[in-house]
């Protein structure tokens, strides 16, 4: 039997996740769109969207296909579902297709999840058949369009953490040496930082100095601790919504609670930070269950 001779790695981003061959890298990233390639040549494109409140699947699919054809300058032709194809998630409905443009062609599939009502288009830049065993088949069967547990994974560009799935992505930035992801649920904001390479960034200053340089608003003293990734420093403080608000006790109810933990991961040569800002309480649980949490 043919075997897939690739080491696979997981990519998890904004609710979706899939396994791709280790040499493949994300070439383009948006909140609802990914292009993954090898040696800067695209291999797979994924685009997803949530269904509107009221819809009929047939109309919705037709609209999505028409939009994709126009946007991508491609022609889509319907294909029958490969006989050997089976996906472990039973709520997925598949619509296989082949596509062609002026310069290339390939296969793909539309996936509609009857549970979360999300529609995903996965387009392969090769016309190899999606049959078992094959690389497209392995990738497709690893695809999930929503987290299966309470925690949603985030795994890309060396970042690897999970956060409660109720937290939605509101902002992100991936610049060389500095990544940030801002997630929000109601009025609680969770910000994930990653800086690197740590050996360079910490060559002239300590972790505490680095943290206060990057987040000048940190108040009070830091407590030190150790998590599975390495040593960390943690600040927790409350502050008024505006300057000198603490003078009048009546404004205490409007205080915001901030916890910031920063950790030097020597193994990955990076500095990771998690900040949780809440108007209700110190969200220690979010910190302790984070990527630089206490590992319990």
């Amino acid at each position: 039997m043919l075997k897939i001779n690739f080491l696979m790695k997981k990519i998890a981003w904004n609710g979706i996740s899939l396994k791709i061959p280790t040499p493949w890298e994300i070439d383009s990233l948006q909140a609802d769109h990914l292009i993954i390639g090898k040696n800067s040549s695209p291999e797979i494109e994924i685009k997803w969207t949530d269904a509107p409140g009221q819809f009929t699947l047939e109309k919705y699919l037709k609209k999505f296909i028409a939009k994709s054809q126009k946007l991508l300058h491609i022609k889509i032709h319907e294909l029958s579902t490969p006989l050997s194809f089976k996906h472990p998630v039973k709520t997925f409905e598949f619509f296989f297709f082949s596509w062609e443009s002026a310069s290339s062609k390939g296969n793909g599939t539309l996936i509609f999840c009857t549970l979360c009502k999300r529609l995903t288009m996965i387009r392969f830049f090769s016309d190899s058949q999606i049959i078992s065993p094959s690389l497209p088949h392995s990738i497709l069967t690893s695809y999930l369009d929503h987290p299966m547990a309470d925690q949603a994974d985030w795994q890309l560009f060396g970042l690897d953490f999970s956060a409660p799935k109720r937290f939605k992505l509101i902002e992100y930035s991936f610049k060389p040496g500095y990544y940030t992801l801002i997630l929000k649920h109601e009025k609680t904001t969770l910000t994930v930082f990653s800086w690197g390479p740590a050996s360079f960034l910490l060559s002239t200053s300590g972790l505490s100095e680095f943290a206060t340089q990057r987040l000048p608003g940190l108040k009070g003293f830091a407590t030190a601790g150790h998590c599975p990734r390495g040593s960390y420093l943690e600040w927790s403080f409350r502050q008024g919504r505006f300057k000198n608000a603490e003078i009048l006790p009546v404004f205490n109810r409007y205080e915001i609670f901030t916890i910031f933990r920063i950790c030097h991961d020597t193994h990955q040569n990076r500095i990771f930070g998690i900040q949780v800002v809440s108007p209700v309480k110190f969200e220690t649980n979010l910190i302790s269950r984070s990527m630089i949490g206490d590992g319990e």
Binding site: D27, I35, S40, L72, F157, G158, P176, G196, S199, F200
Partner: protein, 126 residues
Amino acid sequence: MANKKKDLAKVDALLCIPEKNALVEETFLDSGDLILSYQALYKPFFIKIQKLLQKNPKKRFHRKIQLDSLGVDVWSLVDGIKNVKDIIEEFALLHTLNYKEAEISVTLFLRSLGEKGLIGIKEPKV
């Protein structure tokens, strides 16, 4: 959206080989930083001003740039043999960086070195 034709040019660019300008002088500092000294051309505007003030205006002047330890690492990987992709991979390995992160940093840095005339880029031998 993905465009295979456009991306092929990038693949070719990654195979190009950067080479140091032999006229660049290197001075290492105790801190580990590196000073690169090179001759740069005055802009025509400044040459005109010089002509107004003196008989024999200088067309060139001495310029220095200081590289930090990350810059030194990339500079030392430029040996006229390794291509851009090799340099990115070695740099990523050296600093435990994600390939994409290293690719952006190294290509931007090489581009700025090229703009200053500190390196040239040669096409790979077929």
